[in-house]
């Protein structure tokens, strides 16, 4: 059992490095067009956002419509630090990333304490309100540039942007995989399954809710910093509830509680409008139809069987690759 797990891990590591190498080469050699290059960075912070929201919506089972709030706090805190610190680029980014994450985690902690007694629709509405509330607060805090926001945030070139974005995504995936497969992960699933039963076996539901919101906000905050460094500016208009809804669509589309699904859905939803740019006038129409089709396919059992078959084949390919790797060693 354990050996199999390790082999799987080796396979995942190889896959992660291979994907990185391929995209890095494509960017460095200029094969990837410029618009696609920036898209790669955009995908990275949306993947982090979708993964972090999945922890709240998919694993804990609470519908949060205010994810943009944590994203905004992270972006503003991290970028404000980056602007005023004047450190060299890379250490500046890493410290900003931590500051963004921690600030968002603090806000996530406070907000989750405030909404502990709410469930379902009420929770959704209050988180939605918090999202807009944070956006308004940011406008009036001196030093954050009001409605114009912060400009002149230090920026990466596209390759650096991709590298750091990719690194953050991998770190988040590793944390979430370990977290969801741990005792804590099972406890959270139990709370989602049946809150009363969870309480009856002695689980402190409130503590876990706060924990999940805090971890999730930390990750959303890091996504915010990535976004700021990518766009070199942040403004309140970047964090409307549209963002929260978009990320929620990714989570639902990818499947509640499926980390893999969130990653894939985030990539598709970010890339699709860009790829459809050629079709200009019909872009949004095709986008909408594609979303509906994906939703319908995802909930169809026949398609699920097909998908399982395809995945099986993919796994056997991965197994044989790791086998080759083992022999070489």
């Amino acid at each position: 059992m354990k050996i199999k797990f390790n082999r799987k891990m080796i396979g995942s590591v190889i896959a992660a490095i291979a994907i990185y190498a391929v995209i890095a080469i494509l960017i460095l050699t200029g094969i990837l067009p410029r618009s696609m290059q920036s898209l790669v960075v955009k995908i990275s912070y949306y993947v982090v956002l979708a993964l972090s929201l999945n922890l709240i919506v998919g694993f804990l089972g609470d519908l949060s419509l205010g994810h943009a709030a944590f994203y905004a706090v992270g972006a503003y805190a991290g970028c404000a630090f980056a602007l005023y610190s004047g450190l060299p680029l890379i250490p500046n980014f890493i410290i900003s990333l931590l500051i963004g994450g921690i600030s968002a985690a603090i806000i996530g902690f406070l907000i989750s304490c405030a909404i502990l007694k709410l469930r379902g629709d009420y929770l959704a509405i209050v988180t939605l309100a918090f999202g807009e509330f944070i956006r308004s607060i940011v406008k009036i805090i001196p030093g954050l540039g009001g409605t114009k926001g912060l400009t002149g945030v230090p920026s990466f070139d596209r390759f650096e942007g991709f590298t750091f974005g990719y690194a953050v995504v991998i770190i988040v995936i590793i944390i979430l995989c370990n977290f969801t497969n741990s005792r804590h992960g099972r406890t959270i699933t139990a709370i989602r399954d049946n809150a009363i039963a969870a309480e009856s076996v002695g689980i402190n539901i409130k503590r876990y809710k706060v924990l999940v919101f805090t971890v999730s906000s930390f990750m959303a905050g890091m996504a915010g910093v990535l976004f700021g460094f990518y766009k070199t500016s942040v403004e309140p208009a970047d964090f409307t509830y549209n963002v929260s809804i978009e990320v929620l669509v990714m989570v639902v589309l990818g499947g509640m509680g499926s980390l893999k699904g969130s990653v894939i859905a985030a990539i598709i939803i970010v890339a699709l409008p860009e790829l459809l740019r050629e079709a200009a006038a019909y872009r949004m129409l095709i986008y909408a139809i594609a979303l509906i089709t994906m939703m319908m396919l995802n909930s169809s059992p026949k398609f699920a069987a097909l998908k399982a078959k395809a995945l099986d084949r993919l796994y056997s390919v991965r197994e044989s690759i790791t086998a080759v790797f083992k022999r070489a060693k």
């Binding site: 099972r186 406890t187 139990a190 399954d193 009363i196 039963a197 009856s200 076996v201 002695g202």
Partner: protein, 238 residues
């Protein structure tokens, strides 16, 4: 000298403006099986939820083993040796049978003792042992009820509170569940049983309380109540 393990006095609970409990008092002694019987809406489940901390009380007192339960949060009550089998077979449907059982030992740390408890649960419920890897949501109703009971036993309780264990089960399963409750009681665990099936409940209980719209209207030895005329008419359908 009768020393109650659980003592409830003058308990009043409101749902908004509705008075669900209007001053209920009862007690459960160590080793007893006590039944609370009554029709829908009499306040039986409300009592259990208030005892286990899921609902706040307006006034009154609940003392368990020297602790004031009204001041104890729900998740701490389990580690004091009180287990609750909630109404309607509240299991974790997405987890396996084994994972459900393990979660019952959530408040315990000693791995070896937990293993022993699992074996004990399997001796009470051999059916669960056959299905350890099955997803709990796919069990039959009776098996789910067994799982909920087995899970509650995993906390090694001094007292176990059961809410309508017979609800929605076939007569065959009802008999099986009740004989297991008797077994659990014989192995030294105190049982507080809430039931609509008064006949079954009185047949295994030592004492019982009859509830009507938020108050205790009758109480006494289960055998006496079984032969009480008004109980027979109202709850035993005779």
């Amino acid at each position: 000298m009768f020393t109650p393990l659980l003592q409830v006095e003058n308990l009043e609970v409101n749902y908004g403006v509705i008075r669900a409990l209007k001053g209920v008092s009862f007690e459960v002694g160590t080793g007893e099986v006590v039944a609370l019987i009554g029709a829908n809406g009499a306040g039986k489940t409300t009592i259990l939820h208030t005892v286990t901390g899921l609902l706040p009380a307006k006034s009154g007192s609940i003392v368990y083993d020297g602790h004031d339960l009204l001041k104890t949060p729900a998740h701490k009550i389990v580690s004091m040796g009180m287990a609750h089998v909630p109404e309607g077979r509240r299991i974790f449907g997405a987890l396996t049978v084994y994972e459900n059982i393990i979660l019952g030992a959530y408040t315990r740390r000693d791995k070896k003792e937990i293993e022993e408890s699992i074996e004990l649960v399997y001796t009470h419920f051999p059916r669960l042992k056959e299905r350890t890897k099955q997803i709990a949501g796919t069990l039959s109703g009776g098996e789910q009820q067994m799982l909920a009971m087995g899970r509650a036993l995993m906390s090694k309780p001094k007292i176990i509170l059961m809410d309508e264990p017979s609800m929605g089960l076939s007569p065959l399963y009802v008999s099986e569940i009740f004989s297991i409750i008797e077994e659990i009681s014989k192995s030294g665990t105190t049982v507080l049983l809430v039931e609509q099936n008064a006949k079954k409940a009185l047949s295994i209980a030592d004492r019982a309380y009859v509830l009507e719209t938020g108050t205790v209207v009758l109480s006494g030895d289960a055998d006496d109540l079984m032969h009480n005329d008004s109980v027979r008419r109202a709850y035993l359908g005779e």
